[in-house]
């Protein structure tokens, strides 16, 4: 029953079927960098894998609705920071201060991050409880293996 709810929500709030991610080359590269940064920061801050995954989902959804001129590097980084911070606020018990997201030559003021967060929220129309494939995992593992999923399944899957 829970699973059917998940599936329904995934369809309702997911991307349309014919909507594929075709980004320009430079964005593609920037996206790879951004994902890299998100996962590195995830490890540094000790977030769950779900959190990183979720922030990438926000990132992609944002870019599918808005574009960043010429894939400006700082803008991409700011977007990554905002997405990761939003995902952390959805998933993590302990949310770090915005300051802790700073790294690698970029230093954004709290105000700026806040504005970006709001922009992401409005762009995604506040639909932040996105169903990721990870949500299905424990169910299928229990079904297929007949055992309770181990605590670290997400990291193993990644």
């Amino acid at each position: 029953e829970y699973i059917s709810i998940l599936i329904e929500r995934e369809i309702r709030f997911g991307l349309k079927k014919d909507e594929t991610f075709v980004f320009e080359n430079c964005i593609e590269r920037a996206r790879a960098d951004a994902i890299n940064w998100i996962f590195k920061t995830r490890a540094a801050l000790g977030f769950y894998f779900q959190t990183a995954y979720l922030s990438v989902a926000y990132f992609d959804r944002f870019l599918s609705k808005r574009s960043i001129d010429n894939g400006k590097q700082w803008a991409i980084r700011l977007l990554s920071v905002a997405c990761l911070s939003l995902a952390a606020k959805m998933e993590e018990c302990n949310v770090p201060f915005l300051l802790e997201y700073q790294s690698e030559g970029y230093c954004f003021e709290n105000k700026v991050i806040q504005r970006m967060e709001l922009l992401v929220l409005t762009t995604l129309q506040w639909n932040m409880a996105i169903v990721t494939p990870l949500a299905f995992l424990p169910y299928f593992i229990t079904k297929l293996c007949n055992e309770t999923p181990p605590f670290n399944i997400f990291s193993t899957t990644m």
Binding site: S85, L86, K89, M90, V95, K111, Q114, E117, N127
Partner: protein, 318 residues
């Protein structure tokens, strides 16, 4: 470590927690802009203030173009160190997904740099209660979940790591209330609440009318240590429910329904919900005065259960 040592250690911890707690209670709460605005983002005309709480204010507003009357909850996060507060993000993203007759509908979200306005449909009578309950539910600046009378000690002590056990504590409180007709830890503020919880009391004396099995279950529910508190499954298997009368208004029957509803709540609320009751009896002083819910009907019992994290306004209409 010897047992005695461990005990000393834990009471020391408790003391530290209490001191921290006291510091928290001493805080002044951030001031809201004192004047009410004439309009909100030029779209809604403000007609009056419906309520005020830790989160900000709720206004009664009229859509300037369509004339639609709505309630707008303004949440101010100017003083928030961490930009948009996570409770707000969780609350809104959940409300965005919910579309049900019994749930207060979130019509729109307007945001500016320092605050967000949530536009809700206005449920005349009811909204007053939604606000008053909400005030009860969240103390200023601490944002504590669960109406105070039903709050587990670990929440009152401001632990950031609490779990489903808080609901079982609440069930215990409601169970006790069903027996005596009074909230068992009904006190004026969180401090007294802790005092009441930690003062040594003999439950068997207060609940002399209760069957021994019921008393046993109550003690298991009101176990101070969340780790040793009984689980939902454990409680449902308790001998107290062995010969269940099928009278739907009997205490045991209501209690078992309440327990069974918890996993549903937890499921909804892994991401955060609070249930809100839609009481038909608006004249009942007990429900209208202090936001407390009398445990005298099933709907009420279920609706005043426990909650953690942000908010779902779910109206359980009869």
């Amino acid at each position: 470590m010897t047992e005695e040592n461990a005990d000393a250690q834990s009471s020391l911890n408790l003391f530290t927690q209490l001191v921290q707690c006291k510091n928290l209670f001493g805080h002044a709460h951030a001031t809201l802009p004192s004047n009410r605005p004439d309009n909100i983002e030029g779209i809604y005309e403000v007609m009056g203030i419906l309520g005020e709480g830790s989160f900000g204010r709720v206004y009664r507003c009229k859509h300037i173009r369509t004339g639609e009357i709505v309630a707008i909850k303004q949440i101010d996060f100017r003083y928030d160190q961490n930009a948009v507060p996570s409770s707000l993000i969780r609350e809104v993203s959940l409300l965005r997904e919910l579309n049900h007759d019994n749930i207060v509908r979130l019509l729109n979200v307007l945001s500016t740099e320092t605050y967000v306005s949530l536009v809700f449909e206005l449920l005349d009578q009811d909204l007053g209660r939604y606000i008053s309950r909400n005030n009860g539910v969240r103390d200023p600046w601490i944002r504590k979940p669960a109406t105070r009378y039903y709050r587990a000690p670990e929440i009152l002590l401001d632990s950031s790591q609490y779990s489903t056990g808080v609901d079982l504590w609440s069930v215990g409180c409601i169970f006790g209330e069903m027996v005596t007709g009074e909230p068992i830890f009904g006190t004026k503020n969180s401090f007294d609440e802790l005092d009441a919880i930690f003062s040594p009391t003999d439950l068997s004396y207060i609940f002399a009318d209760l069957e021994p099995q019921g008393l046993h279950l109550l003690k298991m529910l009101l176990c101070l240590d969340p780790k040793r508190r009984v689980s939902v499954e454990g409680a449902l298997k308790h001998a107290y429910f062995n010969d269940l009368p099928d009278h739907p208004r009997s205490r045991r029957y209501r209690l078992i329904l309440l327990l069974k509803s918890l996993p549903v709540h937890n499921h909804l609320r892994t991401k955060g919900f609070i249930l809100k009751a839609n009481f038909q009896d608006h004249n009942d002083p007990a429900t209208s005065s202090n936001g407390r819910v009398p445990a005298d009907s099933l709907e009420n019992v279920i609706s005043c259960t426990p909650n953690s994290l942000p908010v779902l306004y779910l109206a359980c209409s009869k």
